[in-house]
Symmetry: C2
Subunit: 335 residues, 2 copies
Amino acid sequence: MRVVLKDPLDMHLHLRDKEMLKVVAPLSAKSFSGALIMPNLVPPVTSVEDVRSYKERILEAVGKERFEPYMTLFFKNDYDYDFLKEAKKYITAIKLYPAGITTNSEDGVLSVDSRSLGSVLEAMSELEIPLCVHGESEGFVMDREREFLSVYEDLAKNFPKLKIVMEHITTKESVSLLDKYENLYATITLHHLYITLDDVAGGLLRPHLFCKPIAKRPEDRMALRKVAFSAHPKVMFGSDSAPHPVDKKESFGCAAGVFTAPIALQALCDLFEKAGVLENLQKFVSDNAKEIYSLNPPKKEVVLVKEEYEVPNSFKNVVPMFAGEKIGWSIESVS
Amino acid sequence: MRVVLKDPLDMHLHLRDKEMLKVVAPLSAKSFSGALIMPNLVPPVTSVEDVRSYKERILEAVGKERFEPYMTLFFKNDYDYDFLKEAKKYITAIKLYPAGITTNSEDGVLSVDSRSLGSVLEAMSELEIPLCVHGESEGFVMDREREFLSVYEDLAKNFPKLKIVMEHITTKESVSLLDKYENLYATITLHHLYITLDDVAGGLLRPHLFCKPIAKRPEDRMALRKVAFSAHPKVMFGSDSAPHPVDKKESFGCAAGVFTAPIALQALCDLFEKAGVLENLQKFVSDNAKEIYSLNPPKKEVVLVKEEYEVPNSFKNVVPMFAGEKIGWSIESVS
């Protein structure tokens, strides 16, 4: 059995910088046509010059492979209209992090609400720059996303022309919100389609499955699967693939992030095939994103075949999801 | 400020065997007068000979320190009355594990209910041997203890003369059950009085705070604190101190268990003092257990003083809770 995926897109990707960038960028470029690149470097990507030079470094790391890094800015509340108008030439979206909520988010926003962020969001709305949000409160770890939903509602109501992407949603409540506001969209990761908190902490503790937002309950995973499997037009694949060196994962205090970029398409095929919805994967992994973001990525055809793929124990010093395990689908060719 | 604790008892302790036993037994013996020793070795402690020889190995590891290891058997459904009558001379309780529920519990009970365990429980009841239970279902990790409560109710109702100890309780629902059945008791650990899931997985992931049952929600911790701080007469301190070598904790798959034995009394003083209930600690950490189990442990007075204690980064190859941090209370002397 074979599947041809046209122009696969990863709409939420961490490529990091320096040595790590060189390790992971080619792996994404190998199977994806393009990706939305997260701006949470240290320091974060906050100027046109930052965006341009980071994009150059990414393309250099990618090498000859056709791959479009869709760039983002790290949301700051002092961006003005003229800056955003100029920035728009180089970016696809702006990513908002509540301060301190995840890796390298210390420079994020202290208070996320339509009033205090009004002028920037107004300008983004007018300039048609989508807003991507890491939507978590500072509450109890299992409640953070749910507690943030009122913020999404506030933003969605007050900026009805602003496209707002709820990044890496993990709960059934977030799924429900999608159909309530026309301007709300979402990305879903590979790992949140696969795992619950049971996989992270129900047997042995699994640092390589630890991420933010943390994987939730079985009924949450079921809701995510339902909306992804049906290729809901407001839902896109975004891996949130977030590499850390193994010594930052298997350690006294383990950093958040699951590394999935090189195994994502294979694992998605496996999951969608088993659910009997393989025909919806093209939309989930490319068409919906093209439509939502008006993208025209480099042409790329990825042929996947139902043959076992043994996931390496590591890619250089980064341990992927499913390390050492077998996935039912392999990439046969890319053209 | 000083506190004198008389004959402190740790009513749930893992001492392991071989090299690990030699590392951890002296640390418990240093500050406790006695402890209830868990039987989940590999293979488990299931015969009188096992109990006697394990006790000998413990006493040898302890050395000259006065310390009573109160021994337990690993619950098996084929124990008969005569065996239990003989065993009673050497044990204080029998510990029941549902199969596969935690470290070295593979030989545990497949189905925990009053009917299938009837003959053993009948005999234990008649012989007045308390039953200690690791009470978790095989459900979702945050629900396991709650789902097990109906089993406790079934056992408590059907064997009203059997003392049943709900080990290391972690939820407000378990606390509520205590007053519903006369023959239900509970142990509470140090770490479940201190942490919630937020401490394990809300910031960085903390393998040394990972245990079974996993730490729960803030409202659960509040209920545990309330019943411990008031020294409820049916509640005893049981550390569930469960050492693993550091390479089994900071690893690809981290084993469950928090190592607290050498810092438990200091941290309990700190917690009880801050709650303004230091006068109740004696009951929680000794008197209640003496009463419930009819114990007469070796005399030991531990004097604690309100002076900072810097917890070592490790005891040999085992990392304790609060490694490298400071606790407000130290052990001044033991006599």
